[in-house]
Amino acid sequence: MKKKDNKLVMWYKNKKPYSSYILFGIILSVLPILVELKALKYSYLTTIASILIYSIVGLGLNILLGYSGLISLGTAGFMGLGTYLSAYLTADLNLPFELALLISIAVPILVGILTGLVSLRIEGFYLAIATLAISEIFRKVFVEFEVVTNGFSGKKADYPTLLGFIELGRNGTFILIVAILVVIMIITYNLINSYTGRAFLTMRGSESAAKAMGINIYKYRLLSFAITVAYAGLGGVLYMHFVKYTYPDTWTLLLSLNILAAIVIGGIRSIPGTILGSFVVFGVPDLILKRLPIIGQFDGLAYIFNGVLIVLVVLFYPTGLIHVKEKFKRKNTKLQKEEGSYSE
């Protein structure tokens, strides 16, 4: 007779994706305690926090790339816009964090929609070119618009203060990032499984079929780009208030490419895949490659590592690393079946 699972395990099994997201969040929330107990280096916590922030941004880009088949090369630019807005609003204008958060997401959405209105009507790759130009404009603004952005000296901000009186420290901000990541994972999951998500899926299968079913491609492309930009803005705000410093040279094309690499390597259209990918792209170079003897000293190693991984994954595992195990399993069962049919 099978033993009955206890209530917690039952709940975990019944509410599958949600409960595992929450479990993931709880495990991450333990990390600051480990740092306090000196079991984990502080620098690891910073690396992990930035990985989580890039995961949030990556989840947005995954909707755009995975479902609309569009590429944005301006992710870093929109993130940078979020950081500067949030820093200006909280540090210079002394607005509350929550309001600054809303504005720092709304403004990128507005700019994103304008970009999308122009570029999404034609072929898909026009968006990539338009965002490339837009992010270059952002960089120029970050450098030259010194009244707000402080130019090349960069801009500072503090840890966030929630509701006006809860002042978060380093660990508190880390837990805030984890909480927001879990919420974003749940929102993304629900979005993909909603009417909108099904429209996205149809669009991916065949644009003509989607059009024939009455799905307005232009509208849904625009929507997916708006979501991407909103997530990037949110990521920017979190980055600003965890790293507490923003600088024009952070928000270059290379960062956009790294975020793209994360979702391609991890797994397109997969929420855990995006997070796995972020750990590979942003974690492995920091935690492993830099510590290698001799070749670890070179600047470009991380980019070569990610670039080679992108090419290999697209060529051989187009669904990403998260599905590699299943692919192997399928291959094995296929082989066994074939062997079986020969012996019979």
Partner: protein, 290 residues
């Protein structure tokens, strides 16, 4: 008046540099059906190779430029054989992602092999000339003439030679072209190689006025893409003409409006033009079959 002529002559030179880069992008787009985001990085990489040959051997600059283009040719062939030829049956988005991967590889390799410091690159010839009050260097005249001759030669070849015919056939329909006995994989390979060589030449023409560095081609790359957008992706001549238009616009904006904000104004202007002419100035409407 003399200022106007000065800007006009400068624009001819910068427009030519943009035109070479744009021609490289459109060649690859038409034959491989992908926008090659690594074009600028490959050009930058081979400009470094040329600079190192110059430092190492002290050969004349024009021979070094030809050697640099040859090395670009080889890099183009290698990239096509090792990666791009394996992606023939993939959807366009995967191909674009692969070129982004290539971009990261080249951007990582360059600082590893050549260091991060910018290096000076000399002009082909020195001295200058005064026409109607405007000064123009012999080097600029050489660049203008070389670009015009090269572009005309390529267009002549595209229209009249067997090679050009096979490129146009591959561009219009790869499957049918292959059925007609055109070696499409070799056509694609040569267009990658020629595109890389054209990009490297544009990088070396740009190098004396800036310097050879990792980010030297960033701006040119964006403008080359925008000229393809402005000229339309359906023709070979559209992007080249658009590149010259952008060259003129860029110089006039930076002189008459603002030198700091010239690039942002230019980009926004181009995007606004696209809003009204979505297929570009010279493009035809793309027709998709289900």
């Amino acid at each position: 008046m003399s200022i106007f002529i000065q800007i006009f002559l400068n624009s001819l030179e910068t427009g030519g540099i943009y035109a070479l880069a744009a021609l490289g992008i459109i060649l690859i787009f038409r034959t491989s059906n992908t926008t090659n985001y690594a074009q600028g990085a490959i050009s930058m990489f081979n400009a470094f190779v040329a600079t190192y040959i110059l430092i190492g051997t002290n050969l004349p600059v024009y021979i070094v430029a030809i050697l640099g283009m040859l090395s670009a040719f080889v890099v183009g062939v290698l990239v096509d054989r090792i990666v791009i030829s394996k992606t023939q049956n993939m959807d366009p988005v995967s191909k674009q992602i692969i070129t982004l991967g290539l971009l990261m590889i080249f951007l990582g390799l360059a600082p590893m092999l050549f260091g991060t410091d910018p290096i000076q690159f000399p002009r082909f010839i020195y001295g200058s000339l005064t026409i109607l009050g405007a000064t123009i260097s012999y080097n600029a005249i050489l660049n203008i003439v070389v670009v015009i001759i090269l572009v005309s030669f390529l267009f002549y070849m595209l229209q009249r030679s067997k090679w050009g015919l096979s490129i146009r056939a591959t561009a219009s329909n790869e499957v049918v072209a292959r059925m007609m006995g055109i070696p499409t994989s070799i056509v694609t390979m040569t267009s990658w190689a020629i595109a890389a060589a054209l990009g490297t030449l544009s990088a070396l023409m740009l190098a004396p006025s800036t310097s050879v560095s990792i980010s030297m081609m960033d701006g040119v790359q964006i403008i080359a893409f925008l000229s393809c957008v402005l000229g339309g992706f359906q023709t070979f001549h559209g992007p080249v003409i658009a590149a010259y238009i952008i060259g003129f616009a860029s110089n006039f904006i930076s002189y008459y409006i603002s030198s700091i904000w010239s690039d942002p104004i230019l980009y926004i202007l181009i995007l606004v033009v696209i809003l009204f002419k979505p297929n570009g100035l010279f493009g035809k409407k793309m027709v998709k079959k289900v």
